[in-house]
Symmetry: C2
Subunit: 323 residues, 2 copies
């Protein structure tokens, strides 16, 4: 084993169901990881304590090095300059100053950015996006998040939350302001798929996910979804196809608008449904895109799995605080 | 009158119904304009000759100065580096090397870019976009075109045709690959509005645009549309509202994705339907957008009218060939 470093960067990935933390060497290697369930219904204080515990565990397992800087990815919208989570659909907090709080707790500078920004940054620096300068990331999990890297830099835009792709309306026939139906997230994410499955059940259709839906409420387990889809459950397959179709349409729209070199797809749904899902996404995107005379639509799966967010956050912290 | 300049930049705007050309002083002032109808069904040779005539007329009226460089905006997709129009939905040409052809004809360098790229560049340098560095333009006319300026530069992307916003699918319920229904252009542009009006007629609804639709085929006249909508024609109003709603949804999606400081709306439909149309666009965009905590969605009308494209093309030529 390599010698323990005297200092590390810490990466944190706050998700709708779990908090991940890692200690990362200044060279960019993950040396320890920690995980906590996300207390998504317990308010800000409980959330901050759980994040803090995950950091402490990761740093302890790395041999208690000095923390150079902390990078954290979180669902948004955020105020990245002030380190505040403004609100977030799947976790019960609002205007939470997580950046300043963690900075005081650990005596290190903290940078905060959108979770998928951090994940795509990880893929860009160390995963499926290496060698490209213009990428769009779409993460399909509990919700749908996105990120845009242009010219090697994460795009934040005037509202500092650019890349928020989950709320794009793709089906104006059914979209109502503030409602999920017809949006990318509302049709493609696990929350959206669960809603469509429950609708199917109410219409008398059958699925082996029925009991899981009753037990889990709005949260659908990726493993159970995978088993149902791969086992040929017709309702689950139809809902998965619809999810892939919406992701494919979003990609076609974004290719027409931005024409990135590469789309990187990550998140629990993409991981669980794998190759068939990706094929459906690619076919839809290629059918709807307008101009590919001078460059093709390229869509790849994220390569780093759960490490993308924590590594990306640590590398973003390193970029902001090189020593 | 100011003295005639010894040299000028020429700007050309190739539209679905007319070709505009202008001679522009090195300081950026338009000193002459020319117009020709677009021979949109007559093939490449006739189109090149009409463009050439419009340039000759503009330069003659400017007192026959030397041409420093020519900038031309055209509907796409294009190969801007090679100066080729690859194809374009509303004009019957394909792989037309307009750049090299004009360059030989006039003995000056030619730059070719998308028509709305040039229009937005004009607004950015001299119109409604002045003072901003990050803008999205949406031009709603015969078709719908778009352009993205980030950090003060037109975005071209890997396929060199980024900003092609008209083909974005916004209504997945009715969208079919390669068909207009459910896309921004297919619902918001004059071609799309004419299709919806004809559907209404077939369903037994009445509109004072009926005879214009029979006479004009796919092409709807902006003036007649304006008269019908402002005169209270219910079918025309419903179709205009639908157009505005689709533009508003597109803006919400693009604000979430890119968060530009400003959206600039131009084109014949926006000019004709004016304030009511813009209000409907703004209301829809604001209803659907996700995060405006740190910056509002700002939507303005283009300020330069028909001059945006010709002036933008000339200024883009000046940028590429400063002397």
């Amino acid at each position: 084993m390599a010698p323990r470093p005297r200092s590390v960067y810490v990466g944190i990935d706050l998700g709708g169901s779990k908090i991940l933390a890692a200690a990362v060497t200044p060279r960019g290697r993950i040396i320890s990881r920690a995980m906590r369930p996300t207390p998504f219904r317990s308010g800000g204080r409980a959330l901050l304590e759980s994040i803090s515990e995950s950091v402490r565990e990761a740093v302890r397992d790395a041999g208690k090095p000095r923390i150079r800087a902390i990078g954290m990815g979180s669902p948004g919208p955020l105020d990245p300059e002030k380190g505040i989570i403004l609100r977030t659909p799947h976790i019960d907090v609002s205007r939470l100053p997580v950046g300043p709080w963690l900075s005081r707790r650990f005596g290190a500078p903290v940078i905060l950015d959108n979770d998928v920004h951090m994940g795509l940054y990880g893929e860009f620096r160390a995963g499926a996006g290496r060698g490209h300068r213009n990428l769009v990331g779409i993460w399909v999990g509990t919700g749908v998040g996105g990120a845009v890297i242009l010219g090697g830099r994460l795009l934040h835009g005037s509202n500092r939350n650019a890349g928020e792709l989950g709320h794009m309306v793709l089906d104006a026939s059914i979209a109502r302001a503030g409602k999920p139906a017809g949006t990318l997230e509302g049709e493609a994410a696990k929350t959206g798929m669960a809603r469509r499955l429950r609708e199917g059940l109410r219409q008398g259709r059958r699925t082996r996910l029925a009991s899981a839906l009753r037990a889990g409420g709005r949260r659908l387990d990726s493993r159970e979804l995978e088993t149902a889809v791969k086992g040929g459950d017709p309702l689950a397959r139809a809902v998965a196809r619809r999810s892939a179709r919406f992701v494919g349409i979003a990609i076609a729209n974004l290719f027409d608008a931005l024409s990135p070199e590469l789309f990187v797809l990550g998140g629990g749904v993409v991981e669980a449904l794998g190759r068939d899902y990706l094929r459906e996404v690619r076919e839809t995107a290629r059918a709807f895109v307008f101009s590919t005379e001078l460059a093709p639509v390229r869509i790849v799966k994220a390569a780093l799995g759960d490490d993308a967010g924590i590594l990306g956050a640590a590398l973003a912290a390193r970029r902001a605080h090189p020593r």
